[in-house]
């Protein structure tokens, strides 16, 4: 792909990590502005907070308040554009391990604290 | 906005109904229950349905009859209509409680009689409702 349409090809796209695990979507895109040169895509952001920001400042405030109960380490996960390996029609592939990022904090917490305690939730031998 | 306008018009049309017509509309469920009980009893006599089901149906129908009786008493409809409806409801209540006893006693003849009475009451109530809706 030589031309990338930020709104169409990047925004809201499914992200997968190096093992093809789904790790969320592109909730926001950050551009780097510097004098004299055109803006450059620096990174993108993931997280409910980023989504809330797109909708309404009140919603953002509400989510910031709810964060006190969140197990996620950082509300805004920033992924550098340099981590992008491949952009296709279906997904954007990254060179990182999703399970080590905040995108999986909730997943891991729920797996450990809820699923484990439900019948059949333990890994089968 | 338009959606609200339509709702408004319909609600207005609804509340503009005469008390008789409004009462007539509420008779659908009890009339349906009377005919329904008649069929259920007939099927019980033919050993096609279990007793527990008949009893559950009698319970549900009794609730409906009580509810309608109460709302008819509170309605602003003409006394003539109200009395006619109450008469059928009372008949249905009597037949269905008699039927409950008859089923416990396994008295098929009495069940058949109560069933006929209920079907009759249902038919009459539907006719009353139809006339009143006009």
């Amino acid at each position: 792909m030589h031309e990338l349409d930020l709104a169409r090809d990047v925004m809201d796209k499914q992200l997968i990590d190096r093992d093809c695990t789904e790790m969320g979507r592109v909730d926001g895109v950050l551009l780097e502005l510097s004098d004299g040169s055109p803006p450059r895509v620096d990174s993108f952001e993931l997280g409910f907070v980023v989504l809330a920001e797109r909708l309404h400042p009140r919603l953002l405030a509400l989510l910031e308040w709810l964060r006190r109960w969140s197990v996620r380490k950082t509300a805004r996960q920033v992924v550098q554009w340099s981590a992008v390996e491949e952009v296709t029609e279906r997904y954007i592939k990254l060179s990182i391990d999703a399970t080590e990022t905040p995108a999986f904090d909730w997943e891991k917490w729920l797996g450990m604290h809820v699923v484990e305690h439900l019948p059949g939730g333990k890994e089968e031998e | 906005m338009r959606r609200f306008a339509v709702i408004g018009i319909l609600v207005a049309a609804c509340s503009g109904q005469s008390p008789d017509a409004k009462l007539a509309k509420s008779l659908d469920a009890p009339a349906s229950w009377m005919s329904g009980l008649a069929m259920i009893a007939e099927k019980w006599s033919a050993n096609s349905v279990p007793r527990a089901y008949v009893e559950k149906s009698l319970d549900a129908a009794a609730d409906e009859f009580d509810k309608t009786t109460k709302s008819v008493r509170e309605s602003d409809a003409s006394p003539l209509l109200r009395n006619a409806v109450l008469k059928q409801l009372a008949a249905a209540q009597a037949s269905s409680s008699s039927m409950r006893g008859a089923i416990e006693a396994n008295d098929r003849a009495r069940v058949a009689r109560d069933s006929r009475e209920l079907a009759d009451a249902g038919k009459q109530l539907s006719e009353i409702a139809e006339d009143a809706a006009k």
Binding site: R25, P119 | S32, I40, V49
Partner: protein, 405 residues
Amino acid sequence: MKKALQLALGILTAVGGFFDVGNLATSAQAGARFRFQLIWSLLFATILVIFLVEMSGRFAAVSGKALPSAIRDHLGFSFWLGPFVILTLVHLLVLGAEIGGISFALQLVTGIGFQWWAFPVAIVIWLFLWRATFSAIENSTSLLGLITLCFVVAAVVHHPPLHQVAAGARPTLPSHDGATYWFIAVSIIGSVIAPYLFYFYSSGAVEDKWDKSYVAVNRGISVIGMTFGSAIALGALVVAAMVLAPRGIHVSDYNQAAAMLTDAFPFWGFVLFAASMGIACLGAALEVALSLAYATSQTFGWNWGEDLHPREDARFSLTYTVAIFLSALIIAAGIDPLKLTLFTMVINAAVLPFVTIPFLLLMNDRRLLGTNCNGWFSNAIVVMIVIVSFVLAIVSIPLAFIGGT
């Protein structure tokens, strides 16, 4: 050869999975109150649902994306959030209605009140989803779902007057109870074109790893499967028209419909009714719960898949877990399952624009679908569905208040 087998299996799945609590309730009411007069709305809805199911399958096969995922991808989060929230609430209502249907079927055979069954039923649904794989669920419940064909057999046994049945295929104005007539017509449409169908079907196609080669299989499944599926609903309508209507039974409560098969099958009729209702609703409940979890996971880009162990997609698994228990609460609270069903079916019809407009946009995206884009005919149909769904959205809400019983 493998494709032929998949086609056969897909058709069985569609037939077995078609009939649910909404179809049963609306068909029984339509037949009982208006005999054959409302057959047209069932046929009309069937034609529309064939087109929409075919499109959602084709979309998934060609683009590799399920609908909720594609809508967020291409139309954006802000566009999708409103419909997503509304459709999630509708899913919960439908799930509640299906749980109500299973609970009522259990009440029929045990005599224990339906509200007591809500949580045991919820646990069974949950265990199914928690332990089984996608294809196991799909194949077992839909093969069992073929028991609902007993409605078709019963309809044939009753020898309905065929010219009257055929006359019902033509839309006519009611001679009595106008509001109820339109209420039932709309609820039939809502029960056939249920929004969860498209999310479930397209996500299922992704789970089954469909690719472009499935476009023909998909067409066969949607046309044949949906047609036969709606034949079951037609069967129920005809039986109600032959058995309940002459007796003046209007089905204001599920109990009044429960004996409707005993004219045709005096000994087995009652059990067949309970079994059909229980199994059909169980199959649908599994689909609705999965559909809700699919839509949520895809919206936020979580890892999802019914074939994964719950530990590998905790958020996905816990989404359907929470949904099942929330929906069971509605029934445990003692809300009448029939009233809940009819109300929900009308709401289904009212939210159709949220389903159909994304369809129209996505199915015409050449960059996604290439030569498998919609042709002019399919587009004409979708445009018509969009218009019809707008009209339905506007009329159905007031009807829910004045037409219902």
